[in-house]
Amino acid sequence: AQTVTQSQPEMSVQEAETVTLSCTYDTSESNYYLFWYKQPPSRQMILVIRQEAYKQQNATENRFSVNFQKAAKSFSLKISDSQLGDTAMYFCAFMKPRPQGGSEKLVFGKGTKLTVNP
């Protein structure tokens, strides 16, 4: 079974600085997807970024980028120019595609609580 580990329960960063959140995962699959979700105090789960394992290029979405190291099974999230609105829980998630039938399932890490300080 796949597992996702987020080793940093809590982190803090000053506004406008850069912070990196860590995520490692365990799988024997070669084809899969990785995601970062953000959960602000409103409780809404918001998709931040996704990465396909077969793509070597790291995904980027505005101030959010990932460092995907497939051999190391590492998938870190970098937030540049941190803003107060980035304060949230961040969850790393893994999904293995299924070739037919059923449905793919997301496996989540336990989350990292990020606080952006003014």
Binding site: Y33, M45, S103, L106
Partner: protein
Amino acid sequence: DAGITQSPRHKVTETGTPVTLRCHQTENHRYMYWYRQDPGHGLRLIHYSYGVKDTDKGEVSDGYSVSRSKTEDFLLTLESATSSQTSVYFCAIRAAGGAEQYFGPGTRLTVT
């Protein structure tokens, strides 16, 4: 906004009573999911559906049942609620051919 609503948004119920949570989507997505979120555990999959009347169990399905009689609605039922089922419940959808799951606003359930 992926057009997902959950009802109720908050509920307090007593141990032993049946509870049904509803997830409603407006975009006819094939795949729907129910997760629970607990401190220290992240989100864990309870049940999922890959079409009308097609459902399967997730990793924490004991004590829960689901039904999907039409594309837009996915119901989660606790037949006899227990205090261990106090949690926040999220519904999610995924479009056929897509990889991302999009989540509803969540339901906070308290079992006393």
